[in-house]
């Protein structure tokens, strides 16, 4: 049995209480949400925090709904809740398609959206999905709250702009009528992390692409996206040759690393193939 090193445990009663606990315990305290990333690392002793601050009881962080023209997802929303929500599925099929292939039901029942993004694993599926739809992250600290575009949220593998005393509270996603989205992933087995995955978001206007979002994960795409490919798409018709070319540009911009999931050439190929497939389906879904 794998056992973690010893640590203190505190249960936060409210968001301000969580902030207070973070301040009290300092740099070596860690928030625990679903615990599906943090606890395994502790058991393997890759992480040895002095204290765990449990935010699971904080209903203020579990809200999920539409606020005006924005979809608001609390940081503590579980994968399973995002997957089950009909409104999310109507506006953003990309989230449902991504969630369906993230881990397994056991992990999805506890794992949270905020925990996934804060873990900042370079193979995280939701990072690609949120990058594709250009979400914003809301971060709360002792000095108040700030909003960061998701494409500036990750600063490197396992690193985000969230500072030690801060909490990610919610994600905000702009809803634009007529947009379509999709997610494509190749995994070695159900529940496995992606070998590569791509999300796409397209809004057509007058038969041409007015807005394009591409999210990529596990393939070394900077900020989980491919801006050159997105720029290429703007103003063009969503036809096969165009989408293929955008996919090729996206694949070129990736810097995948070889591991037991696959060699570099294969991962780059997948980045292109899956971007193309996701773009095609997003185009089919976008009304124009």
């Amino acid at each position: 049995m794998q056992v973690p090193a010893s640590f203190e445990y505190e249960r936060a009663e409210s968001v301000p209480h969580a902030l207070e606990l973070l301040e009290r315990y300092g740099e070596d305290a860690r928030l625990v949400a679903g615990g599906h990333s943090l606890i395994p690392m502790m058991k393997l002793r890759l992480a040895q925090p002095d204290a765990l601050i449990d935010i699971n009881g904080l209903a203020e962080l579990s809200h999920l709904g539409v606020d005006g023209d924005t979809l608001v997802i609390g940081a503590l929303v579980r994968h399973a809740a995002l997957l089950a929500d009909e409104v999310v599925g109507t506006y953003f099929p990309i989230f449902h398609e991504a969630e369906r292939v993230i881990a397994d039901p056991v992990v999805r029942n506890r794992g949270t959206v905020g925990g996934s993004l804060c873990q900042a694993d370079p193979s995280e599926d939701l990072s690609a999905a949120f990058a594709a739809v250009r979400a914003e992250a809301v971060i709360l600290g002792p000095g108040g709250s700030r909003t960061v575009p998701i494409r500036e949220f990750h600063v490197g593998p396992y690193e985000t702009v969230v500072e030690p005393g801060e909490i990610l509270t919610e994600l905000r996603v702009p809803i634009r009528p007529g947009a379509g989205s999709a997610y494509e992933k190749v995994e070695r087995r159900v529940g496995d992390w992606p070998v590569a995955a791509a999300g796409a978001y397209l809004r057509l206007d007058g038969g041409v692409i007015a807005e394009a979002g591409i999210g990529l994960t596990a393939v070394g795409a900077e900020h989980f996206t491919a801006p050159d490919a997105e720029a290429y798409l703007i103003g063009k018709a969503a036809e096969e040759a165009v989408l293929r070319e955008a996919a090729r540009i996206a694949a070129e911009s990736c810097e995948p690393q070889a591991d037991q999931r696959g060699p570099v050439d294969y991962k780059r190929h997948l980045a292109g193939e899956l971007t193309y497939r996701a773009l095609s389906r997003a185009a089919e879904r976008s009304g124009s």
Partner: protein
């Protein structure tokens, strides 16, 4: 489901406790004052140990003892014999030889402190070059791994061969068509959900040592502890409680068991040691790792004439394979498959590498898995070369039923078979011709669909003691049957279930033989103080050996009952006949209605009834069964896959499995065994793999990296059966525990390669992950046993 009197479907007796969570595993054993052990393992694949400083760990307030190789050397226990009569370090003294090797053992008051204390042990290593790629192990100048062995100058363990080389070469020299193919059966791991562990309790007052440990061979463990540690055997009790999966990985003795025993002797307290998942994957018995080259000679019209094989076998750092002494490559002899050949020959070279020891674990029937994979891949390679249908080629070359008993070119006597019937049934169930038509249409549209076949014959139930022993212990097994006065029975057997359902099937055998309900038979196993000697459960041997012992001991009881019945009926024993009807079994006087039920006889056997001279009271009996031959189960499997050419993903759409394991005692349990084995096969073919980087870092040491298949990767299995009884087994049964694990990987791989035929791909090594399939299509296959770079 009602309880049948004898054979048939009945719910497993074990299920009542397992589905209520009331099973009792080794980690459920908790004794007063028990301490906990943890093992410090080597981070290096090959390194000299310069020094070990345990002082800081010993200073930890909750640590009771720290044991190192040096401590053990003082007790002459630093090394132990392996099942292949090599030696293995219990705790390293001179060098570490694989990543994850055991270096020190901490005993503490709780699990957490034991684990914390590992970090306080300071080991200084001097790293050495490692031998990771088996193909380089015999190179000039390769580092010598086993320099502990006197006079050793290379890494070779053995050269071994079977068959007739000259006759085979002669056939090849004249052959119209020959094909050759290199292939790897990669290193995989049985990965039982329950890891290994032990609770050792040495009682200083009585001198009795009790070891709870999930072992598939409790009696062999007891004898080995006696021989190695010099403890008196009658003072050792090995208890193998419920086991959460074995698959061959729980046959041998691991260093942790020895450490727990020494820990208990040193501290005077019971010591529990349970390994974690990574430790299990990194250090316990792996399976396969056979680098093979097969060649087939045939006529142009598709008659297979001869097979020739060369194997490089990677055994890791210590030769710890579990197999009968005379068989360093197990029963690889069956590489001749199920076919009518003129000649065959194989050569196997075993080598050391800086990887974990082990060898045959994982439902492989002593290397039959590798042999079947080889021959079934080669048949497809030949079909490709000849441009003929793979099913047709098999049908044409399978042994015919009138050829049995059949002596193979490597000298094995196949007991019984009706191969064409079995293959035909599988093809009918699959709708083979329609599948081929569908495939042709799909190919026109650029879609990839594949149909893969395998036909396997296994040789299981080791085995005749004259030829088969492990470390000198003959592979015969005992059974004891006690019948209580009210006719309820207790059967004690030497084999040990890890999920095979012995408590049910063995009760059914007794029930069938004595004409009593299986509910009235209690099966006792897994405790050396309570069961007769025998070598345990692996290699599909329980039904062929212990099942036979069970039938034989029940027949002895029945004969004793005849004597008692004769006294009761005042008849001559010869005039009695045995009958079984719905009410049960009875001895009746032939031609009259007079008879006594087995329950009446049992009561009389314990009563004041006067028995004739020479007839003892009670009905109890014992028996040791020495099998006259192995049994040869067989089967025909067909797998249908769809492959996405853009991503390389494989979807197993259908799987048809027709098994012939002779007489089926409980068809439901047989089907369960087959289901599990098929899932295993899909796992090995498509995802399971333990690869290493050049430095010997293990790249599959967690379930995030070592992938087990789930229900999502498995189609709804389509099972069929034919029944060809074994002529020499008392109830005509053959083993089935490993059939599906043996037979399914080649069916899946053949299906994928059949799908890839439009690209001219003839072979690709397992596991056929999306990346491996895509690279095979590109003509640039991945070497699956090494790190992907």
């Amino acid at each position: 489901m009602s309880t049948p009197m004898g054979f048939g479907r009945m719910h497993r007796k074990e299920d009542a406790r397992f589905i209520r969570g009331r099973g009792s595993y080794v980690d459920d054993v908790n004794l007063p004052g028990m301490l906990y052990g943890a093992i410090l393992r080597s981070p290096h694949a090959h390194a000299r140990i310069v020094s070990i400083d345990t002082s800081a760990a010993l200073a930890h307030p909750k640590v009771k003892a720290v044991i190192t190789g040096e401590t053990l050397a003082g007790l002459n226990l630093a090394w132990m014999p392996t099942l292949s009569a090599d030696t293995q370090a219990v705790l390293a003294t001179d060098k570490v030889r694989f990543q994850g090797q055991e270096v020190a053992f901490v005993v503490a008051e709780d699990r957490y402190s034991a684990r914390d204390a590992l970090e306080l042990i300071d080991v200084e290593y001097e790293a050495l070059d490692a031998v990771i790629d088996a193909r380089k192990s015999l190179d000039e100048g390769a580092p010598i791994i086993r320099d502990d062995q006197e006079g050793r100058a290379d890494n070779k363990i053995f050269d071994w061969g079977a068959g007739d080389k000259d006759a085979t070469d002669a056939v090849f020299a004249q052959a119209e068509v020959t094909v050759a193919q290199d292939m790897l059966y990669p290193r995989v791991h049985p990965a039982p959900l329950e890891t290994c562990g032990a609770v050792a309790d040495f009682d200083k007052v009585t001198g009795k040592l009790t070891v709870w440990c999930p072992t598939q061979a409790p009696h062999a463990h007891r004898t080995l502890y006696a021989l190695v540690a010099g403890l008196p055997e009658h003072k050792i009790r090995v208890i193998s409680p419920d086991i959460g999966g074995g698959f061959g990985g729980k046959v041998g003795i691991y260093p942790g068991y020895v450490c727990a025993i020494v820990g208990s002797i040193v501290t005077g307290k019971p010591v529990k040691w349970m390994e974690d998942r990574s430790e299990n994957l990194m250090s316990t018995a792996f399976a396969r790792d056979y680098h093979m080259r097969g060649e087939v000679a045939a006529t142009r019209d598709g008659r297979i004439q001869a097979i020739r094989v060369k194997v490089l076998a990677d055994h890791g750092a210590f030769n710890g394979t579990a197999q009968p002494t005379k068989f360093p490559a197990g029963f690889f002899h069956v590489f001749t498959g199920s076919y009518d050949l003129r000649a065959a020959h194989c050569e196997v070279t075993g080598v050391y590498t800086n990887k974990a020891p082990g060898g045959v674990a994982y439902a492989c029937s002593f290397r039959i898995t590798e042999a079947v994979y080889l021959v079934e891949r080669m048949i497809d390679v030949l079909a490709d070369e000849l441009g003929v249908d793979a099913a047709e080629l098999r049908m044409k070359n399978l042994l015919r039923s009138e050829q049995f008993p059949y002596t193979s070119p490597t000298g094995w006597e196949y007991d019984s078979g009706d191969y064409q019937k079995t293959l035909q049934l599988a093809m009918d169930m699959a709708g083979y011709d329609a599948l081929r038509r569908e495939q042709a249409e799909k190919r026109e549209r650029g879609e990839l669909m594949g149909i893969g076949i395998s036909f396997f014959t296994e040789a299981v139930g080791a085995g005749p003691r004259k030829h088969m022993d492990i470390l000198g212990l003959g592979m015969a097994d005992g059974a004891e049957l006690r019948v209580h006065p009210t006719g309820k029975a207790v059967l004690r057997v030497s084999c040990q279930s890890q999920g095979q359902g012995h408590e049910t099937t063995f009760a059914q055998i007794v029930g069938a033989e004595l004409g009593i309900s299986p509910d009235d038979v209690e099966v006792v196993h897994g405790d050396t103080d309570q069961t007769p000697f025998g070598l345990g459960t692996y290699g599909s041997r329980s039904t062929p050996v212990s099942g036979a012992a069970t039938a034989m001991v029940a027949r002895k009881v029945r004969e004793r009952a005849r004597q008692v019945a004769a006294a009761m009926l005042e008849a001559s024993p010869e005039d009695l006949e045995w009958t079984v009807d719905e009410a049960g079994g009875s001895w009746t006087v032939a031609g009259t209605g007079a008879g006594k039920s087995i329950q009446e006889i049992a009561l009389a056997a314990h009563s004041n009834l006067e028995l004739p001279e020479g007839v003892e009271g009670h009905l109890d009996a014992t028996c040791v069964y020495n099998p006259p031959n192995l049994t040869y189960p067989f089967g025909a499997y067909i797998c249908v896959v769809d492959v996405d050419p853009g991503t390389g993903q494989v979807k197993v759409r259908r799987f048809i499995a027709v098994d012939d394991c002779g007489v089926r005692i409980n068809p439901m349990i047989v089907e369960g065994q087959v289901h599990g084995g098929l899932a295993d096969g899909v796992g090995m073919a498509l995802m399971q793999l333990m690869a290493f980087d050049e430095d010997g870092n293990h790249l599959g040491a967690s379930f995030m990296d070592y992938l087990l298949p789930t229900a999502m990767e498995c189609p709804s299995w389509e099972l069929g059966e034919t029944v060809t009884p074994s002529p020499h087994h008392p109830i005509g049964a053959k083993g089935v525990g490993e059939s599906a694990t043996v037979g399914s990987p080649p069916a899946v791989v053949n299906a994928v390669l059949d799908a890839l035929r439009p690209y001219g791909v003839r072979h690709a090594d397992m596991p056929l992950t999306p990346a491996a399939v895509w690279r095979a299509i590109k003509g640039d296959p991945i070497r699956t046993d090494m790190a992907i770079t």
